[in-house]
Symmetry: C2
Subunit: 272 residues, 2 copies
């Protein structure tokens, strides 16, 4: 999928919503736990109920790995289902991987080939030769951590060197990596005012924005500073949508929550 195709999907669905599949056995409806694969059964129901309201799904690998190879199989079934049933959906493995050269290539194979995700989140700490192996994969997108939405973001990401904060340096440096046109960035919504500075450095790239809602960010604020001509935003919501109810109506209630966000997004897109 190209960023242009992603934009087309956004304009046709009037939504730039990404739904995070942080699927946790302790939080899904109790009756699903009797299924042979409860994680997949939950994901399938959520996806079937919400796929017209969002343009992307983002399973976070931690929630699957916690259940070992069985959890990993549930993740494989989820991505296979998405690719078969809803091939136009943009799929993101939120894995925050990164390692030296040949090892990053193995991670890229795991997520871009073995599982065929469209995109993968990657941590920048190890620099160029830990990121570029991911960028070698045509038609695939590497979503680099820029400024994250958690309190610990201020430990290192906002440190300054000659007036440039670390997260700004990450964006600047990464823009010069080979195939940087395949980069997107994670930018936390809890600091919407930083988005103005970020857009000066990377005006065109798509930004994946966690932290709207549960973590306190405002959708209006984020869009004021973050929207660009190609939309350029994917707003993620996980728990606020998928755990709206733990009863029989969980998928329906998730769709209601997703629709509430989608309706706000439609208005924002109309205003331009």
């Amino acid at each position: 999928m190209t960023p242009q195709e992603l934009e087309q999907q956004i304009r046709s669905k009037k939504s730039f919503l990404c739904i995070g599949l942080d699927t946790d056995l302790d939080k899904i409806p109790a009756f699903l736990r009797e299924q042979p694969d409860p994680l997949f059964a939950f994901n399938k129901a959520i996806i079937d109920a919400t796929h017209q309201l969002c343009v992307a799904y983002k399973p976070n690998t931690a929630f699957y790995e916690a259940y070992g190879s069985e959890g990993w199989r549930s993740l494989e079934k989820t991505i296979a289902y998405l690719n078969e049933k809803y091939p136009q959906i943009f799929t993101i493995a939120d894995a925050k991987r990164g390692d030296i050269g040949n090892t990053s290539t193995r991670y890229a194979k795991a997520f871009f080939e073995t599982m065929d995700f469209d995109a993968l989140t990657v941590a920048p700490y190890m620099g160029r030769d830990s990121v570029e192996p991911f960028l070698e994969f045509e038609g695939k997108y590497t979503i680099l951590l820029g400024l994250t939405s958690n309190p610990g973001a201020f430990d290192f990401q906002t440190r300054e060197d000659a007036g440039v904060r670390l997260f700004e340096q990450v964006l600047k440096t990464a823009s010069n990596y080979r195939h940087s046109e395949r980069l997107m960035y994670v930018v936390g919504a809890t600091k919407a005012e930083y988005l103005r500075d970020i857009r000066k450095i990377i005006p065109e790239a798509f930004l994946l924005i966690p932290g709207v809602g549960a973590q306190g960010g405002s959708l209006e604020e984020v869009c004021r500073y973050g929207l660009n001509e190609g939309v350029g935003l994917l707003i993620n919501s996980s728990r606020g949508i998928i755990y709206a109810s733990a009863e029989q109506d969980f998928a329906e209630k998730a769709a209601q929550k997703a629709r509430a966000l989608q309706t706000q997004m439609a208005k924002i897109l109309e205003k331009g």
Copy 2:
């Protein structure tokens, strides 16, 4: 396992060698590929041949994930074998994970409980609340990326703020995290002279040192600056040992390579 028990094992084996299990189907002996689980078969043979020469094994998760849930099962079998057959060995999952609070806890469960590794490598970019969830696990060790051994390390890790480089700030800040006594650090051997500065910040912590041999670091240099009273070093070698031969004698040849390093280490430990 406590750091004191790790030191005892080091002194009794006269070795502070960690063997990296970066197991790649394309590099293991061809005849093993006919086995039902070639990755595990290879690891088992390497472990059985080398366990008296090293104190730790470090599978890198990228190599297993590249084969999907099947690869993840090979990893599970490897750690289960180590824990059952050689329980005194220190086991490290080289996974370079890290995410916001509750998500880091899921990763910790995956590696410290579901698989029961002794230690896990973690990336520091997201700060305190991405690292502390791992430190909550008693008897488990979080090995934080400090200064890595790849060329990209200079993209961000050596940036200065008020005369303090980022990797130094990571060590200083992390030393104040809750349960920082459960921290160890990854420090690349290609910059042995930095080890002197690093030991000023974290004199007591164990350091996991990749990059000796293949990546150009010198064992003598590393030990000159890095050894402390409790030894405090784990030197990792992966490809240099496990791929010493692709024939029937692969495990024996791996043991020879491991013994060569162990012999050097014994001399260094004798000199004190």
